[in-house]
Amino acid sequence: MDKTIAVIVVLNWIAVFSYVLATVANVYGVLFKNDAVELRSYWAAWTGMVVHSAVILYWWRIVGHGPYMAPSEVLSSDAWIAICVYFVFSRIYPRIRSTSIIVFPTAFLMLALANFYNPGIRSLPPTFGGIWLVFHIAFYKIALGTLIIAFAFSIFFLLKGRSRAPWLMRLPEPASIDLYAYRFAGFGFIFWAIAMLAGSIWAYKSWGRFWGWDPVETWSLITWLFFGIYLHLRRFFRWSGEKAAWFFVFCFIMSLVSLFVTSHMGSSIHAEYFK
């Protein structure tokens, strides 16, 4: 077993190294407008993702369950989905490519952090089964991926308003950045809603109640309502620009608290699964 874990750790570090390489090349390519280097950064990220995918699949086969039990599994799969979401959406909306400056380092930081956790095998609690659980977890991760992109756009907007650095001038126009932040916040809102609703169905199948005001459930709903307020303010109160960007940054922090902090609350039924 020690040998298997050693292989996993080494492969994980190779993936981290690839993502670091992708980040460095990407930042250099964007800052100094070197298209060739920027293009190579995507190749490095792809390489990292291939290795990362192999690690996740291999570990899945060993432990017999998806990457959602141990903190190392959770962080690793979050990083993987963030990269996947970025690649999928950048194919549909090529103008989001510049968000790689935020997405790539986020991915390598999450994966590197995952490597510092004990990768020991966690057994699956009996209630951890069924397709609704898979939807529940997968959609939270996808929501996080889209929110990272929206966060990147909000940060770009705030930076553009404060600095005239040449690399910032190469980013899309502020109005366009603002719109992309709004759009991706909307995607995040939908994916978050699907995740929450799938979780509710899973809870009903496991415990006979679809909502129990458990701390993790409540914080997830609170976060979703904050995103709802953000979207309402933008749509009906015509919020845009800096005000909207700051409010989104706040909502994004709330989502991180909801995903990574509240699950450690001892009184939550979710708590035992994240120990």
Binding site: Y93, I121, R122, S123, L124, P125, P126, T127, G129, G130, A175, S176, L179, Y182, R183, G186, F187, F189, I190, A193, I194, L197, S200, I201, Y204, K205, S206, W207, G208, R209, F210, W211, W213, D214, P215, T218, W219, L221, I222, L225, F226, G228, I229, H232, L233, F236, F237, S267
Partner: protein, 445 residues
């Protein structure tokens, strides 16, 4: 009528809606910081009172310890339902008008003129995924993803269905939890270990007896629980029995009841106690299954043997502490009197001994498991509402309609007006492609 219109205007106001969301959010934030009574054990409640006496007293005075059943929260929900109801009606009208109307006001159109005849323009547009939605004096209106107009309506209808169904469930649900040992029966009218019922629901009384026949469980190699299942016999008044199995994630539906297997299980120790006065009683001590073979499971039974006396019990599944596969539970009893330990006594089945002036004998050991009985209707409404919400959100955000109006100008030119209802910058390429295509011939001369 005027009053109705004022109510409607108030509930549909953007400020009202935003205020309601903020109030709901504020209530939930309060509910997450102030421990809610229905989530607390009696020990937890006592600790909260001891740690924060002023805050606990204030919370209780204001009813913040049951915020989700507080009249204030009920008012927010009521207003939210009213707002959603009016909003749904309005949005239905808007969606219908937008889908089938000839033209409507709103965001400005991008426009250009072309010598290409309207027939060729509409034909090209149809090939590009646009659908003709209406035609009239003002021209032909085509739309890409016209169903996107219904996204908001569906999203709000879904929320309305979920809230209404949840409210119905909250008012009418009946729920009871019990711990049964093998061979034990729970009869109609017996007291539940814990029970919940909605405001409109009667006390939860089963119409037949339930007997636990056996409990089975499995563990992972790391000793985590893999599965728990119970075999139950339901007995009606005619004493006819029906056997059914319930397991974790394997809900048992029986005669309108949903029965869930809880992950609580362990061993029930039947201990015969002879007190100093010579009175003999048999007690059932339910102890949860240990988490690991080398770690005991503990249970405290205060005042069971009289005021000021605390009987403490612990057990290992395997006395050699090696495995869960070898079941030979060994019980260790300890008794405290007014905070002073009187002694402790290890017991195997049939074994006996004394602590102080009390005499103990372990008669038998059986397994026990936790069962949850639920009776409510309306969950289908909740899940149907979820489906509608998801469907509406997807239509709303993933398929914003793009409209084109094609009309002939008096000079014979064709005027093309284009717009995306939402996020027009995202779909700007579509307009550019349309313009390039329709002015190509002109550009070529």
């Amino acid at each position: 009528m005027q009053l109705m219109n004022r109510i409607k205007r108030f509930l549909l106001s953007r400020t009202t809606i935003l205020t309601l969301i903020i109030l709901a959010l504020g209530s939930m934030l309060l509910g997450s910081f102030i421990p809610q009574s229905f989530l607390l054990t009696s020990n937890g409640a006592a600790k909260w009172h001891a740690d924060y006496p002023t805050l606990a007293a204030l919370a209780e005075r204001l009813g913040l310890h049951h915020i989700y059943t507080h009249p204030f929260f009920a008012c927010i929900m009521l207003l939210a339902v009213g707002a959603l109801l009016f909003s749904c009606i309005e949005q239905f009208k808007i969606s219908r008008r937008r889908t089938f109307g000839e033209e409507f006001s709103g965001r400005k159109y991008e426009e250009f003129e072309t010598p290409v005849d309207p027939g060729s323009v509409t034909s090209w547009l149809r090939q590009s995924g646009y659908i003709s939605v209406s035609s009239g004096k003002k021209g032909v209106r085509l739309c890409r993803h016209p169903w996107g107009y219904w996204g908001n309506f569906l999203l709000h209808v879904g929320m309305l269905i979920v809230i209404a169904s949840s409210l119905w469930i909250a008012l009418t649900q009946q729920r009871g939890m019990l711990h049964l040992a093998v061979g034990e029966s729970f009869h109609p009218g017996d007291q539940w270990l814990s029970t919940e019922k909605g405001l409109l629901a009667k006390d939860f009384v089963l119409d037949r007896s339930v007997r636990l026949e056996s409990v089975s469980y499995e563990f992972w190699p790391t000793y985590g629980v893999k599965n728990v299942a119970s075999l139950l016999t339901f007995q009606n008044k005619q004493n006819a029995g029906e056997q059914r199995t319930v397991g974790v994630n394997n809900i048992l539906y029986y005669q309108g009841l949903s029965i869930y297997q809880a992950v609580d299980f362990g061993h029930a120790f039947y201990v015969e106690v002879v007190d100093p006065a010579g009175v003999k009683n048999t007690y059932q001590l339910l102890l949860a299954h240990p988490e690991k073979p080398d770690k005991p499971s503990y249970g405290d039974f205060p005042n069971m043997l009289g005021p000021g006396r605390l009987l403490r019990a612990k057990y290992f599944v395997d006395p050699e502490k090696r495995s869960f596969a070898r079941e030979n539970p060994q019980l260790v009893l300890r008794m405290d009197e007014n905070g002073t330990q009187l002694g402790q006594l290890p017991l195997s089945i049939g074994g006996e001994g004394a602590i102080g002036r009390f005499h103990f004998r372990l008669i038998k050991v059986d397994k026990w498991s936790g069962l949850i009985f639920v009776k409510f209707f309306g969950i289908q409404g909740v899940f149907f509402g979820f489906l509608i919400i998801i469907f509406g959100s997807i239509l709303n955000y993933f398929t914003p309609p793009r409209e084109v109006i094609v009309r002939v100008l008096p000079d014979g030119e064709t005027k093309i007006s284009w717009r995306a209802v939402k996020f027009s910058e995202f779909y700007r390429d579509e307009f550019d492609r349309l313009k390039t295509e329709m002015t190509k011939e002109e550009a070529n001369g």
